[in-house]
Point group: C2
Chain length 334, copies 2
């Protein structure tokens, strides 16, 4: 079982204060006293109770990750899961433990959970409801938003340069000689899908070959199933439209569409080149592997952690909007 500082003190023949001092390393202490105490600690495998420590220091060394997800998956999400992984790794390095929670009910319950637990800070991922954000904001607890859509002033946002990414995709396809490009754009209420489409469109406009509305379809969700379904619905138009390339505003949609194309015996990339966005793992192992604009999820998680730590420490944070640069990854599909 677990021991207390009191037992250690008794066994070492000193006071609790002394034990506390040798553990914290603060204040002077006689070497012999220290050794005696250390010996007892070692023997009893004593570990200071973090709860008691948090109580007095008003610091839990816990951070909470709150992800908005209407449904499964949460942690294992191909995109957000990577951010969580990066947070986990960085947090561990900084000696924080992390609570992972989801807010699927769009309620305040999950937020309450964290707030009651007295985490030192929060990382909010994805498009949480405004009321949840306001709620957390009012609590005055430090937090950082990752890939969020909402504009709250004076808050640290970590996002991807989605518009630039859209332009990169357009530039790449255009450079490959493609002139007839079909686009599958996910829900435009999502900041990412919106910006990616706009970047793509802007580039084409600037290039003198604007995107025709008939070359654009909107899957209702950014899922594999919707990508497949949308491609199926637009297949007749696609075939007769002379398209040689497909851009989807995320990998899952691209993959779904690609599956449909393969099933129609379309040769990729010979007949149709396909490019996605996100850079999830599946994209790299698919057959053909998917060319994509990769978001630096590792940096997102890492940066979010680092900044949150600064906020917790009340250190100044000079930049509030951190924008990460995506990268074009060329694979078999183009």
């Amino acid at each position: 079982m677990s021991h207390t500082i009191r037992e250690i003190a008794q066994l070492a023949g000193v006071s609790k204060s002394t034990v506390s001092r040798v553990i914290s390393g603060k204040g002077y202490i006689h070497p012999e006293t220290r050794d005696a105490v250390l010996k007892v600690i070692e023997k009893l495998q004593y570990k200071p109770n973090a709860v008691a420590r948090a109580m007095v220091s008003q610091r839990t060394h816990n951070i909470g990750v709150l992800i908005y997800r209407r449904e499964y998956p949460i942690a294992s999400h191909p995109f957000y899961g990577k951010i969580v992984d990066a947070i986990l790794a960085t947090a561990a390095r900084m000696n924080y433990s992390v609570f992972v929670t989801t807010d699927h009910e769009m309620s305040l319950r999950s937020a309450d959970f964290m707030l009651e637990k007295r985490v030192d800070g929060l990382i909010l991922i994805s498009r949480l409801q405004q009321n949840v954000i306001d709620y957390i904001h009012n609590f005055g607890i430090p937090y950082v938003m990752v890939n969020g859509s909402t504009d709250v002033d004076n808050v640290v946002h970590v996002v991807n340069r989605d518009q630039d990414g859209g332009m990169m995709a357009a530039e790449y396809l255009t450079g490959l000689g493609h002139r007839r490009i079909f686009v599958l754009a996910g829900p435009q209420t999502h900041r990412s899908h919106y910006l990616r489409l706009h970047g793509f469109r802007d580039y084409l406009n600037g290039n003198g070959s604007p995107l025709d509305p008939s070359s654009l379809a909107y899957p209702q969700a950014s899922t594999f199933e919707q990508g497949y379904e949308m491609m199926r619905q637009h297949w007749p138009d696609f075939k007769s439209g002379g398209y040689t390339a497909l851009f989807a505003t995320n990998d899952m949609i691209a993959l779904g569409a690609m599956k449909f194309l393969i099933e129609q015996s379309v040769r990729i990339p010979d007949q149709v080149a396909v490019i996605g966005f996100d850079g999830i793992d599946v994209a790299s192992i698919y057959t053909p592997s998917l060319t994509t604009i990769k978001v630096d999820t590792e940096a997102m998680g890492r940066t979010a952690c680092t900044l949150l730590d600064k906020l917790i420490d009340q250190q100044p944070v000079n930049e509030l909007d951190i924008e990460l640069v995506p990268e074009l990854i060329i694979r078999q599909s183009t």
Copy 2:
């Protein structure tokens, strides 16, 4: 900012004890007093400090999930991530918060982390080092093992019936008429890979068509890359061997091998049928989608949580070895 029970008491004109009682709902209390207190609580958006509560109740309502992973990913792992998701969902329902940690250094550091945090219990996933397990065991904290390889007595284990799953795969392929089956078996030091192979082999033996050693290859890791690579190495033998089916002891290996086969223009399932094991998401969206023996990861996570809760509550747990039944999912690859 956050308030204390003291402030609430003062504003409501009662004692701290009374406030505590209306919050906990324990003991009698005059309706008017209750209303007055509740009003103040509501107005101040007061939330009891969970740390202080944990301190006195000796219950944190936190559980820790410790996953063994030599490297990335941790939470986003296609298989373990699903278990984590199920744990997250179940834990939330039971009012537990969950810490997610990994043990990649095979050290005791991650365990210490949890132990100091005073979680009420631990869920250990995958093949943690024996010393880590012993260490945790000695601490006397309740824990449950999921998909672990180690045999510790008197501990709750939640596992998949891997041997049965292997038999199911063999039975299915045999039933389809396949007689020449090639097998890619992941590291045999892993309990799962070992049992899956044995179940498969046992069935074939019982069926009078034992597996020839030349029909068996061992990828060094249970990864996509290794599956691809092993298939590539054995391709000459495979081609000349008249094989009509391939069984891999997990989906990632199967997928990697399948990619290689597709690249050789092998038609799946017409020329070669492929079956994996695990039931990860990628398997269902691949082209062709992969037939597999699906492990009930949802039940694993859920069961682990439920049992851990019982252990924490000191309730009797009648069964120590929980074995989940896998399911054959037939898809395009067979």
